[in-house]
């Protein structure tokens, strides 16, 4: 080792000398652009060399797969042992419509389910509430009751499949619907596996589907974390999400830093509740975006794993190895897709998915080419799934683990992203932590600025988007089949909900809602009362109304 370092030192003098000469020569050459930059507007050097890495210690910075600091991956043999879960996000119309799509995807080789709920459900409104007008079943499936949930998973073995639910504000209630459904089928909660997104911080920061103020929202999340730690050991109660932060226009570093800051805020909240870090940390999971810039994305995933492992060990004192692992789901970037020449999106998704795989993701959703036009059609969703299967089985990238490690460029970018994330952590801490920073609009402003810069670059032709500002086809006719949400779907959902209200035991409903109110007002865990309310057919909207009365509602801070 001593010897090796000396050699390296000698060599680096030589390399530096030659590099300077080379750079001088390159400066004389014409280049296509004044500035070469990543999707996040970071300037990129023409060449990376050993010099770019400085004092790089292999074992400290990378280690081995499945070993601290997990830069190279969270599992020892990665995709040689098990491929990532191919999990396509799906949901539209009524529970029947989405159930049909679920069965279709499973039939075509999908290995996990992922549920998109409609906006009313995400905001905790029943399908027949006045606020739901025009939105029922449009951006996802409408689920207002246990009955809707049962139809959604009809014919699917709950103890066999893992189910992800993209739900945040009312996540505890949807989890209660899922648990109540399993209990009715005599499936023990211990056997349920899946994820609730349940990440309210990124809602305030980026996605904006919040209901309650931060404090009671954090309490609901920590209640689910605690409940799952005790009763649903195979469930990921929370998926800390950078995806939406990126979709809102952040840079890759902002996505990385804000998501991890959110993650650490949840850890601290659970610790404050008196939970032991090793009791809940192994079940925390993450969710990242895969944007266009191939190497930047790969570096982001690698940096994320390393930062997380280091903090969990050094700052939060995690002892269990599994508490240090950052497992994450990846979705290709919806915001990168173009309405123009939509077939080109298949190519974008392929590059993005490949970055996710080379970055070591645990599960992957690939977007459909038609998503800037409407919800994905069957065919478009199938092509997207096939894209993953081609990567897995034909490209050869799964044969070796973290194949880009040791690339001067990828390693120096990984280092840079880690360092820049640390700068953000400091800034957030100076603002008093994540929640005060949200209330001051810090994240929102950072993201809005980055989004505006990106758009300005496109509008000024400093950034090329194929089919949008270059290689444009005038008078292009878009001819791909579009999924329609019909009036019939809407009416069917409303009719079912109203029939349920007629049929159910009103005494049990009022008693359950009174119990939910009592529990929310106090400090005990809400989950048992929510499961009880779900079983007695209290609707989502009814439960949220009670919570809104107890917890209040949240409004976004002025951002300008």
């Amino acid at each position: 080792m001593e010897n090796g370092q000396e050699d390296h030192g000698m060599g680096s003098e030589d390399i530096r000398h030659n590099e300077e000469r080379w750079r001088e020569e390159v400066r004389e050459l014409d280049e296509l652009k004044a500035r070469f930059m990543t999707t996040s507007s970071e300037e990129i050097d023409p060449l990376y060399t050993p010099d770019s890495l400085g004092d790089f210690e292999y074992l400290d910075e990378l280690g081995f797969p499945g070993e601290y600091p997990y830069t190279r991956g969270v599992y020892k043999n990665m995709y040689r042992g098990r491929l990532w879960t191919m999990r396509m996000f799906a949901g539209f119309g009524t529970a029947e419509d989405t159930n049909e799509r679920f069965l279709y995807l499973l039939e075509h080789g999908q290995t996990g389910l992922s549920t998109a709920f409609d906006l009313p459900t995400l905001y905790g409104y029943d399908s027949d509430a006045p606020d739901s007008a025009g939105e029922v079943g449009r951006c996802g499936v409408a689920v207002s009751s246990l009955e809707d949930m049962e139809i959604l998973f009809n014919g699917i073995d709950l103890d066999q499949v893992s189910t992800s639910m993209t739900i945040n504000g009312p996540a505890a209630i949807l989890l209660a619907f899922y648990a109540a459904m399993a209990e009715k089928q005599d499936i023990p909660l211990e056997k349920l596996s899946g994820t609730t997104q349940n990440d309210i911080l990124k809602e305030y920061i980026a996605q904006k589907e919040f209901i309650f103020p931060p404090e009671p929202s954090m309490r609901l999340i920590t209640d689910t974390v605690e409940f799952c730690a005790r009763r649903m050991p195979r469930w990921h109660p929370i998926s800390i999400s950078g995806y939406h932060i990126r979709e809102a226009g952040s840079t890759a570093v902002q996505e990385l830093a804000f998501t991890l800051a959110d993650g650490f805020a949840y850890v601290e909240d659970a610790l404050a509740r008196g939970l032991d870090v090793d009791d809940f940390a192994p079940r925390l999971s993450f969710f990242f975006n895969a944007h266009n810039d191939f190497f930047e994305e790969i570096a982001k995933y690698r940096a994320a794993r390393r930062i997380y492992a280091r903090r969990m060990k050094e700052k939060y004192g995690a002892k269990n190895e599994r508490s240090l692992l950052m497992r994450f789901h990846t979705q290709t970037a919806g915001c990168s897709l173009t309405a123009q020449q939509p077939e080109n999106n298949i190519v974008r998704v392929t590059i993005q998915a490949l970055a996710g795989v080379l970055g070591g993701t645990q599960s992957l959703h690939t977007n459909s080419m038609d998503e800037t036009l409407a919800l994905p059609s069957d065919t478009a969703a199938k092509i997207a799934l096939r894209t993953q299967q081609v990567i897995a089985h034909e490209s050869g990238v799964v044969n070796t683990i973290d194949p880009l490690a040791g690339s001067y460029f990828v390693e120096s970018m990984t280092n840079r992203m880690e360092a820049e994330a640390e700068v953000y952590f400091d800034r957030i801490e100076k603002l008093g932590g994540v929640i005060p920073a949200i209330e001051k609009g810090f994240f929102q402003q950072e993201i809005a600025r980055a989004a505006y810069r990106y758009q300005t670059e496109i509008d000024g032709d400093d950034r090329v988007i194929v089919g949008v500002n270059r290689y444009v086809e005038e008078d292009e006719k878009i001819e791909i089949p579009i999924l329609e949400i019909t009036r019939e779907m809407h009416d069917r959902q409303i009719a079912r909900l109203q029939a349920l209200r007629e049929r159910r035991d009103e005494t049990a409903v009022s008693a359950s809602l009174a119990e939910v109110r009592r529990v929310c007002t106090g400090t005990e865990n809400v989950m048992p009362s929510l499961i009880e309310a779900a079983t007695n057919h209290c609707t989502l909207g009814e439960i949220v109304d009670v919570m809104r009365e107890v917890f209040g509602t949240y409004r976004e801070p002025a951002m300008f």
């Binding site: 906006l119 009313p120 995400l122 905001y123 409104y125 606020d131 739901s132 007008a133 025009g134 939105e135 449009r138 951006c139 809602e203 996605q207 904006k208 589907e209 979709e247 809102a248 226009g249 915001c335 897709l337 173009t338 309405a339 123009q340 800037t372 036009l373 409407a374 919800l375 809005a448 989004a451 505006y452 758009q455 300005t456 496109i458 509008d459 988007i465 089919g467 949008v468 500002n469 878009i478 579009i482 949400i485 976004e556 002025a558 951002m559 300008f560």
Partner: protein, 135 residues
């Protein structure tokens, strides 16, 4: 010595929380010298038209990505009629809106509606042209 500026209301109707586009467009309109009244998320048609009247705006711009455009645009048009500002105030906007729906909404009285990938300069130019044609 007039200092007439184009005043424009930018709002997100309904439940859709995707405000990236609305904010980017708001910033672009500001940088084009317009006064942008940004009302934020979860605006009802009543809130939108009420604000448009009190702020005496020239233009209302709505951003809808949730697919609920056939509900929200007509509701706003209806209230604009009620308040007597239709024709006087331009209703425009953008989001994920299929071509056929854009045509239908324009027939009902909206101005141009912009889809994904629109250059913000085109939006600025459209509003300026409309404004010049009016005054």
């Amino acid at each position: 010595m007039t200092e007439k500026k184009i005043r424009i209301l930018v709002a997100k109707p309904g439940l859709d929380g995707h405000d990236r586009g609305a904010k980017v467009v708001a910033a672009a309109l500001r940088d084009a010298g317009m006064e942008v009244i940004y009302t934020g998320l979860r605006q009802t048609p009543e809130m939108i038209v009420n604000a448009a009247v009190q702020e005496d705006v020239d233009v209302i711009a709505l951003s809808i990505l949730s697919g609920a455009h056939l509900t929200h645009f007509p509701a706003v048009l209806e209230l604009m009629k009620e308040q007597g500002i239709i024709g006087e105030v331009l209703l425009t906007g953008g989001g994920i809106i299929p071509e056929g729906d854009i045509e239908a909404l324009k027939e009902q009285g909206t101005g141009q509606l912009f889809g994904p990938g629109t250059n913000t300069r085109d939006i600025v130019e459209y509003i300026r042209n409309w404004h010049e044609g009016r005054s």
